[in-house]
Amino acid sequence: MKKAIGLALAVLAMSVVATSAQGSNRITAASAAGVNCKSTITLPLVTPVTGGAGFLGAEQGSWAKYAVQTLAKPLGLKVKFVLGDTPVEQGPAPAQALAQKYVADKSVLVVLGPSTSGAVAASSSTYYAAKIAHISPSATRTSLTQGSPKEATPAFFRVVPGDYIQGPSDANYMQNVLHVKRVVLMDFQEPYSVGLSDAVEAVLKKGGVATTRLSAPNTTTDYSAYVTKVPSDADIVFFPTQKPGDAQTFAQQLIEQGKKAKVFGGDGSNDPSAFKQPGSYVSNFAPDITGIAADKALIAGWKKANPGKAVGSFGPPSYGAAQVALNAIALSCKAGHGTTTRQAVLQTIKKVKIKNWILGGSLRWSTKSNDPLNAKFYIFQIQANGSYKLVG
């Protein structure tokens, strides 16, 4: 019996070793293999398509798809756009599984996303091992690109600024413009909100503002007990959710319980269709691009392709990320005389400069990190009619 168990264990161990060796060979082979630039290239966008943040995938997907439809052909590329779903409620597992899938697919040279910081942290090393650049249109956690240790690898890029800008921007606005005395900071036990609340709290504490920290599981639907814990003299509740409807619920429950505090959401709650409680605040990495003259034709084209949909703040950076990815592929194809590799594309990302950047101005990369240069955060206040007014 013991012999049989020992034999079974040995066979199991050998098969595991053989499988992983085969897997790593596959990764190396796939990353080193040259791809004919005339063949169809797959460009995935990894984003929450389902779950409470499903609006994010819908918006980002529509813009990234539009970028592929309009930019690939002029760059001489044949590109198939696909969506990979990472519901925020399911944690890092879907991002890891998708990374494995795209690594194994030889037609994938670069990946858009993941959209959320937690998903980036969970999958970046897999992409890096296969030399696949991944460009996020919305993951803002500071430690993905800065500090030590970094949560993401050198294969990770983002086209929006991180919370190292958002945190201080929001905190400074609260202190210098709203003159807050007490702020409640929420987090949702996942990397994005914890990092952002940490960044805001650090600046507020330094400025002598009294802070209270509350932490809710990411699956929370009813915030009544959290609202109960908000002190009656609190001026602001910082609420960096990735589910804008929850920010709306929280703001309404504050009113229900007679609390005077206003909700201040991060970029994750920037959705005028879901978070529209007048008097609340929200920050975002992108301005309202409908006010940028150079984007008029682009917006008109996108609206034609997506009738009835409104221009939000999450979509345009996805167009930008796809633009960077496609240009990097085209540049590396040119350098490789019609063939390219994942590594070549990865090394070309920071060579891409875009003159008329969708978010205004031009896109240039920081020399110190894989972040955009001179990017900033914008603060909006929600008006009585639910519209977002730029206030900072």
Binding site: P48, T50, G54, S215, T219, D222, Q257
Partner: protein, 307 residues
């Protein structure tokens, strides 16, 4: 004291909805000995039916009927819609497996859960749906109500708690004071003996699904009056409802009511007095404690088997 009172109000609101979901689990388990893991998704469908009716009747900004009638119609439509759904689920997913090993209907239940969540997503997308009851009648459902000291009990919470309790009392009366209820209890006690006594088992089981699913539909609307709903909400509320049913004693109707309230109080008070960070841990620790020390739950009866 204000915090205590406010948390009590929160707990009653939360607990009454959990109790409605737990009742669905417990009814089906009582009669079929089946853990209907699709029940949370029936709740989700109910919340979407309520949203659909709200939109059909003009939404919160311009309702074409009085507010009270609007709320009643939303709840009734969800109850009827979910009852029909419950019958369909029973007919196609569970009845063919009634004599199969117990694992088979359990897997079928999980399959139905995924089917419902994904079908709803295909039909309506993943965007959360917010009833926006705050906009209804100038936020009167939030601002009206009564005060206990400094604590405001909003009309919306009163509606939620009272509706849930009325439904629970009606269910209790139905099960304990009617012929159909007696047939349900007999089927629950011994299905074969009940059949030999002339009880139409199929009818009883279908009626059980009608009742459980209707309660889930009502719960879906009552919860979504206050918080947004999504196609993914079924999993979380289903888990909470199941926990409440186990704590109360799965198969016991008063147990499910008590379990829902215990869970509501545990969640609210742990968030209020211990830590918002660890509330889920505390809640599910209670479940584990019950499984270890009192597996039959608070009001359930121990499963005695002839050996």
């Amino acid at each position: 004291m204000d915090t205590f009172l406010q948390l009590t109000v929160d707990a009653l609101t939360l607990g009454s909805v959990y109790a409605l979901i737990a009742l669905g689990y417990t009814l089906v388990y009582g009669v079929l000995k089946l853990l209907n893991f699709a029940h949370g998704d029936v709740f989700m469908v109910g919340s979407f039916i309520g949203f659909g009716v709200l939109q059909l009747l003009g939404g919160t900004s311009k309702p074409v009927v009085p507010v009270w009638l609007l709320l009643v119609l939303m709840v009734l439509a969800a109850m009827v819609g979910c009852a029909v759904l419950g019958v369909v689920i029973e007919r196609f997913a569970y009845r063919p497996l009634r004599d199969a090993p117990r694992i088979a209907p359990l897997i079928s239940a999980l399959g139905v859960s995924f089917f419902l969540a994904n079908s709803m997503q295909l039909l309506f997308g993943a965007t959360p749906r917010n009833y926006n009851i705050f906009d209804l009648a100038n936020a009167s459902l939030y601002t009206n109500g009564f005060n206990i000291g400094n604590v405001h009990v909003a009309l919306l919470r009163i509606i939620t708690v009272v509706s849930a309790f009325v439904l629970m009392v009606l269910l209790w009366l139905l099960v304990n004071r009617t012929r159909t209820g007696k047939a349900m209890r007999a089927t629950s006690y011994d299905r074969e003996a009940a059949a030999m006594m002339g009880i139409d088992i199929d009818k009883v089981i279908v009626f059980t699904f009608v009742l459980g699913s209707a309660l889930a539909g009502a719960g879906g609307v009552l919860q979504s009056l206050r918080v947004p709903t999504t196609v993914a909400i079924g999993f979380v509320v289903g888990l909470k409802g199941f926990t409440a049913a186990v704590i109360g004693g799965i198969g016991s109707i008063p147990g499910a009511m008590a379990g829902g309230l215990i869970l509501g109080f545990a969640e609210s008070f742990s968030q209020g007095y211990i830590s918002t960070k660890w509330s889920d841990l505390i809640v599910f620790s209670i479940l584990i404690a019950f499984m270890i020390f009192r597996p039959q739950g608070l009001l359930g009866r121990a499963d005695i088997r002839k050996v």
